[in-house]
């Protein structure tokens, strides 16, 4: 397909599919007149969209959709010697119940890889394609060895590995084989951490308990803020077990250092500076704002959402670490309502948690609906209920701390009835379990800075 408008259409359809809008993506694909196209890129997307629909269908309809997906991939493969559409065609044939065809196509893909005609798009994908072809040919042990080799070629290609693992699990399920051995290839858990500020810097008991909990979780990725006390100890512990550390702050590091580290004692400052310097990323949620109760709440949701997003991308487990006095209930913790696992570490506070000393501010959730209607709510649940009450139609969601309402600028990007959100609001939806998937579709330039924009799919049964 030519560069430009056509390519943009395919990208927007792929974004819809990735956001979980399976049937909307297909409707838009047909409306764009692409169903009869013989362009390999279009055929590959067609295969993907039919495959997504098949996964949500039952019985003979499911088999028929898998068969149609396979045909699209097979046609795409005829345009050249590419193993990618061919191996997908083989897997679709298997899901459609045509085991012979699956084996034949898998052998063709294997030949392409073995003869070096197609080495795969990356070293990982070359070997992973070989592994999948072996699995589809019934050579499970050889497939396992080949998958080990693929992972060794790109040990941190987590996104690609998760895609292979998903595919392997479904093949093993169809062929009635045990998929337990796949667990050795799964990425480590993603951890969100937070806790109280009032822990003494020399409290060795608290340090030991937090370090033991982090070692027990063994996270590969950790997300959280960096206030003095529990946050800093947990972040340090995550680094010591080799996790990627992603710090999420409510305000610029200098502001946050003054508001949430320094007041707890100067002994925390060198630790804060060291961790900030070696973190894999530092995200500032509201760089125009000073640290306040609202910006802390926003940063918490942002960090939780990022942890959930990472876990979803990698097909990994998302767990929370909560560090607080045993008697303190965590009723307001969105993680608690999402049903995901929480590890609690009980500590003794030496002074009151000082969030109350931060300037008070309110976090608002703004929605925009068709007909230029805009409303603001104090909780994300109320905002989502209002959007759902609308039914079909365009809708946008944003969250904010200051007076500046931006949600109206998001509304025109609510394509195909999907909810358009700022990234902050999308992450809050993920954190609270109100959205099952989010997909970034670009950025809007505004006079007060860029807004990254996402499409979100509400949790619930597939549309």
């Amino acid at each position: 397909m030519a560069e430009g408008a056509g390519s943009n259409v395919l990208k927007s359809l792929l974004a819809l599919a990735r956001a979980g809008a399976t049937s909307r993506a297909w409707t838009a694909f047909v409306a764009a007149g692409l169903e009869a196209s013989d362009d390999p890129e279009v055929l590959t997307l067609k295969g993907r969209l039919l495959k997504d629909q098949a996964r949500h269908a039952q019985g003979s309809k499911r088999s028929a959709l898998f068969a149609r997906a396979g045909e699209a991939y097979e046609l795409a493969a005829t345009s050249g010697s590419y193993s990618y559409p061919l191996i997908n065609a083989a897997a679709m044939a298997l899901h459609a119940g045509d085991f012979d065809k699956a084996g034949r196509l898998a052998q063709k893909a294997l030949e392409l890889v073995d003869t070096g005609i197609d080495k795969g798009e990356t070293p990982y994908w070359g070997e992973a394609t070989r592994a999948e072809a072996l699995l589809l040919s019934g050579e499970t042990e050889a497939a396992r060895a080949s998958l080990s080799k693929a992972v060794a070629l790109a040990p941190q290609a987590w996104e690609d590995q998760s895609s292979t693992l998903r595919q392997f699990a479904s093949i093993l399920a169809v062929t009635g084989q045990d998929g337990g051995w796949l667990d050795q290839f799964r990425p480590p858990p993603v951890m969100h951490f937070n806790g109280i500020l009032g822990i003494a810097a020399d409290d060795l008991i608290a340090h030991a308990a937090i370090e033991a909990a982090v070692a027990d979780i063994a996270p590969g990725f950790a997300f959280g803020a960096l206030a003095a006390g529990a946050d800093i100890i947990a972040a340090d512990a995550a680094l010591s077990v080799g996790a990627e550390l992603h710090v999420v702050l409510p305000s610029e590091p200098e502001d946050f250092r003054d508001s949430s580290v320094s007041p707890m004692g100067d002994e925390w400052l060198p630790r804060f500076d060291r961790i900030i310097a070696c973190a894999d990323s530092v995200t500032v949620c509201a760089s125009d704002e000073r640290t306040s109760t609202a910006s802390v709440e926003l940063a918490e949701l942002h960090a939780m959402g990022m942890a959930v997003e990472k876990a979803e991308q990698l097909q990994a487990k998302a767990v929370a670490l909560r560090i607080e006095p045993a008697q303190r209930p965590a009723l307001g913790d969105p993680w608690l309502h999402s049903g995901r696992p929480i590890h609690h570490v009980a500590v003794t506070a030496v002074r009151d948690s000082t969030v109350a000393q931060l300037p008070a501010a309110r976090l608002f959730y703004d929605i925009a609906l068709d007909g230029n209607r805009q409303h603001s709510f104090g909780t994300i649940d109320e905002a989502v209920d209002a959007v759902k009450a609308l039914g079909a139609g365009r809708a946008a969601l944003d969250c904010r701390i200051g007076e500046r309402i931006r949600v109206g600028t998001l509304l025109s990007h609510s394509a195909h009835g999907m909810l358009a959100t700022s990234r902050g609001a999308a992450l809050a939806l993920l954190a609270t379990g109100l959205a099952s998937r989010i997909e970034t579709i670009g950025e809007i330039a505004t006079t007060v800075g860029p807004i990254e924009i996402c499409l979100a799919t509400f949790s619930g049964p597939p549309e």
């Binding site: 990356t122 790109a154 290609a157 760089s287 950025e443 809007i444 007060v448 860029p450």
Partner: protein, 225 residues
């Protein structure tokens, strides 16, 4: 707050930033660097007050700058925000600041005295073309902001720039200065470094001593969102 003046722009990164933003030769970039100074500001540090004489053109190298005004009701209003690769200040003539400017996050600016830049533009066609291109780009950004039009995300812009730099075999030689490439696509060095690390980790791009090699053009294209 007084800015910290770093040095006289000798760093390879700054020369590369100038070359990237002005699309000029290294010789012209060097001439411009000789009249530029690097100035660093801490978060919220005031760069200029409303009514101050404006005698400098600034290029944002890191961080961001916000233009603020106080309305008749005494409320502070943010007029604009300039990120990496954007310019603000006086050009082609010295003037006075019509709003206050403050740093947002740790910010580094490349400052050129307006008068000296005007003289250089008159004598160096490459710099003149670069200034014209920068001003046109800035106008485009303003229009984008007025229309709230959707464009690529920061990582998408970075990946597109990588593809544009590559030859038909996917080679980018010499390896680009990431800080400079980041500024030229209006993003931060951190965002660009993370974006590159992510595709290197997946084997989509290989990093060699002297070059970058795009291994899968299709996979990189798919990441342009």
């Amino acid at each position: 707050m007084m800015p910290e003046t770093d040095d006289s722009m000798a760093g390879r990164d700054d020369i590369a930033i100038i070359q990237g933003c002005f699309a000029c030769s290294s010789k012209s970039a060097q001439r411009l660097a000789e009249i530029m100074a690097s100035r660093s500001f801490t978060h919220r540090a005031v760069i200029a007050h409303i009514g101050d004489p404006s005698t400098t053109l600034y290029l944002v190298a890191e961080g961001a700058v916000v233009a603020e005004l106080f309305g008749y009701d005494g409320q502070q209003a943010q007029l604009a925000r300039h990120g990496p690769g954007e310019i603000f200040g006086a050009y082609p003539a010295e003037t006075t600041y019509r709003s206050s400017f403050a740093a947002c996050g740790a910010t580094r600016l490349l400052a050129t005295p307006t008068q000296q830049l005007t003289e250089l533009v008159a004598n160096d066609p490459e710099i003149a073309a670069g200034v014209a291109a920068l001003l046109a780009k800035q106008l485009d950004l303003v229009l984008d902001r007025m229309a709230a039009r959707i464009g690529l995300s920061a990582t998408g812009r970075f990946y597109r720039a990588l593809l544009q730099l590559a030859d038909s075999d996917g080679r980018i030689e010499p390896a680009p200065v990431i800080a400079a490439l980041a500024v030229s696509v209006h993003t931060t060095r951190e965002t660009a470094s993370r974006a590159l690390a992510s595709v290197v980790r997946r084997g989509i791009v290989e990093r060699h001593d002297d070059r970058l090699q795009i291994v899968s053009r299709r996979m990189l294209e798919e990441l342009i969102v």
